[in-house]
């Protein structure tokens, strides 16, 4: 056979084989031993595999997708990645029953390096191993750059390879396009997808092009592309996810629900897809669909890194609105039991209890839950996520404390005043509780306040009054620590000031903190690389 038949020294490779059937485990172990492997560990379930992964470093992981009652193979992979238990070079091959591949794909956070369908023999497994190992070393430099989030660098590396016209040219093109997309360079990404589509309708390129349209708010065009993919390839699950998102944007919740429902029928095990269905159904007040979806998400989440309190409370709320209050109370009790000593989860539970008891007409219990929620929210303070804060605001409104609710909303809006998607979601919340006009008002005035403040600072900067600008932005930041624009502008005026007057340690520190905050909120922010350059130059000049 051809050049790729480079010698892999299997005696040096450490294997982990995961399968719930003992016969399968020993069969695969035999196979790899016949290639010369001597270090082969086996695990019968996900829990055993994670324990082994925590205490050993493996070169190759062969994992069956179906592992019986506990975690499935995808969940093992996700947990291993989340806990950082895999080496960068570890080759992961997911073994699937024939043709279940599509069912697994889409709506997953991590992909294995390759899939291998059963049945296979030792020759096929060896061939696949060699291809995966060759591919991993082929992509190593690029993947390392991606891991460090140096996307621009990764794109340059891809482009260099594309010029060499390698055999797997399309893989490099696909990766380059995906990276452009990650950086928000939609036109560059679209150009690559379109060039692939010029010769042939390939689903991944159609999907990519649709995503660029989606991000450019061309929802009608995106819709057409996604529908096209599905009509040609009913099992391309990712197209359903994107079509549903697009229909939500187009305001057609009924169609969005239908799309995601048919996807869920085809791949009932994808937890993120169940959550998406639940969210849409809740918005539509389709409570029995929502209840089922979140219940499924709770069950699927049992062994998953996606285990999440909101799935329990959403299930409970859907139940309560569908006159299943008693059941709802039980679900919340389960949430408390499964997340002991978790303040976020307790807050979720208390807020949901308030809603549920109100729905049941149990005002005393609702009142008690309300005061627990307030205490917890105050304890969590600034660390509260914006999702939790929006929910807390709703609870305040529902309990007649308008001012407190609006105060929270105001802060959320001011912290992300330029994020139209987030603002639209907040407006949706107001619409759903019959406060449409008030919502518009609060959002608009909160937004205006920040814009005015920000413009004032920018103006001062332009006039060269850098110290005044710094003062103003620093003061603004006391209230708006999570606001990206304010953080960026403070960085800018701090850097400008140091470029004129020389390095000041305290200012360097502040600039650094601001940039870190922006990166945390928006890892792909386009302004950061330029600011970092200026920052580095100031550091170097002074030393």
């Amino acid at each position: 056979m051809k050049t790729k038949d480079m010698a892999i020294d299997y005696t040096k490779k450490k294997f982990l084989v995961i399968d719930d059937f003992m016969d399968m485990r020993s069969m695969i172990k035999h196979m790899v031993e016949s290639y010369g492997a001597t270090k082969v560990d086996t695990a019968a379930n996900g829990k055993g595999a994670i324990e082994l992964l925590a205490n050993n470093t493996y070169d190759i992981m062969l994992c069956d997708y179906n592992l019986g009652d506990g975690m499935d193979g995808q969940q093992v992979l996700e947990e291993a990645k989340h806990k950082n238990l895999l080496k960068f070079s570890t080759a992961v091959i997911m073994i699937t029953a024939e043709n279940t591949r599509e069912m697994v794909m889409g709506a997953v956070e991590y992909q294995p390096d390759d899939y291998l369908s059963k049945p296979f023999n030792k020759h096929m497994l060896r061939d696949r191993l060699e291809k995966v190992i060759a591919k991993k070393s082929d992509f190593e430099k690029i993947e390392r750059a991606i891991e460090k989030q140096k996307y621009a660098e990764a794109i340059v590396l891809c482009e260099q390879r594309i010029l060499e016209k390698p055999k797997n040219l399309s893989e490099f093109m696909r990766l380059a396009a995906d990276l452009h997309m990650k950086m928000g360079r939609y036109d560059e990404a679209a150009a690559i997808y379109s060039s692939v589509l010029a010769t042939r309708d390939i689903s991944w390129a159609q999907l990519g092009l649709g995503k660029t349209q989606f991000h450019k708010n061309s929802f009608m065009e995106a819709r057409e592309l996604f529908e096209n993919i599905i009509s040609e390839n009913e099992t391309y699950m990712e197209a359903y996810d994107w079509l549903a998102k697009t229909m939500v944007k187009l305001g057609d919740l009924t169609e969005a629900e239908n799309v995601i429902k048919s996807a869920v029928e085809k791949s009932p095990k994808a937890i993120l897809r169940q959550m998406a269905l639940g969210d849409i159904a809740l918005k539509k007040k389709d409570f029995s669909v929502a209840e089922k979806a979140f219940k499924k998400a709770v069950t699927l989440g049992r062994h998953s890194v996606h285990k999440n309190p909101a799935n329990y409370t959403n299930q409970a709320k859907a139940l309560a609105f569908n006159s299943g209050g008693k059941e709802a109370v039980k679900v919340i009790a389960k949430l408390r039991k499964e997340f002991p000593d978790d303040k976020d989860a307790s807050l979720h539970a208390a807020m949901a209890e308030n809603v549920v008891y109100k729905e049941m007409g149990k005002d005393d219990a609702a009142e008690k839950a309300f005061s627990e929620a307030q205490d917890l929210y105050n304890e969590i303070g600034d660390k509260a996520s914006s999702d939790i804060s929006v929910e807390m605001a709703q609870v305040f409104y529902a309990n007649g404390e308008k001012d407190k609710g609006s105060e929270i909303i105001k802060k959320i809006v001011q912290n992300q005043h330029e994020d139209e998607d987030a603002l639209r979601d907040i407006q949706d919340v107001f619409n759903s509780i019959g406060m449409e006009d008030e919502g518009k008002d609060i959002i608009a005035t909160s937004k205006d306040d920040v814009i005015k403040l920000n413009n004032e600072g920018v103006q001062l900067g332009k006039q060269g009054k850098l110290d005044d600008a710094i003062d103003l932005f620093e003061k603004a930041l006391e209230e708006l620590e999570g606001n990206k624009v304010i953080n960026l502008n403070l960085t800018r005026v701090l850097l400008s000031s140091m470029e004129q007057n020389g390095k000041v340690d305290s200012q360097l520190y502040k600039a650094r903190q601001c940039m870190l905050r922006v990166e945390k909120i928006d890892p792909l922010n386009n302004s950061i690389p330029g600011l970092r350059d200026r920052y580095e130059k100031i550091m170097q000049k002074a030393s």
Partner: protein
Amino acid sequence: MTTPDKKVENLAANGAGDNADFIAILASAIHDMKNSLGFVLNSLDEFIDEANEAQSPERLVRVQYEAKRVNNNLVRLLALYKMQCLGVSANVDEHDVGDFLEECMLQDKPITDAKGIKVGIDCFEGLMGYFDDDLMMGVLGNAVTNAIRYTQNELIITAEEIDGYLKISVNDDGTGFPESMLSSGESESSGAGHGVSFSSGNTGLGLYFSSLVAALHKNKGRTGYIDFSNGNALSGGCFSIYLP
């Protein structure tokens, strides 16, 4: 591995009525049989490897071949079930044809090795094709297993691009396909129920499956098809699949 019970639960949700239940049970039973057979096959491979060092294990090889045939049938039945009942369609992507054919041949390597059949691939390096690799693996697996039965001592798989179609052929040096199977301008038909009968021992399942898979491959208004001929790359039969 999926346990049969779970499978039934999932599948039953998709259908309605007793017939759907029966089909779901049938599918999960096939799935279960296939898993057992997979184990039997791999164990046989090992036995034969061990036996090879001592004597020629002809009867074992025969068992191995028959088990492989049963396995192929089960794989195809399941794929057909999915196509018909779950609406699974072709997942077309770009593949290196040479690499893919090599992998296909490895499916049957234990048998061709044991039977001493010489296997060759004739495909120029860098030829790319667009197809569903899982489904095509089933089609070529069927063609190769079939060819192994009729060949004398050689098999050649050829791949080339002809008029915008990727043509993949499995050639043997046996006596060739009977006259009744050779196509006469109707090669684009679905194949099933076309009065075509395989020689003894064949249920027509492989043919039906291959025609369906071919037809699932479409590009710019053109559809794939299959074709039988004699005396091409080798003196015997030649099965070809054309993908647009």
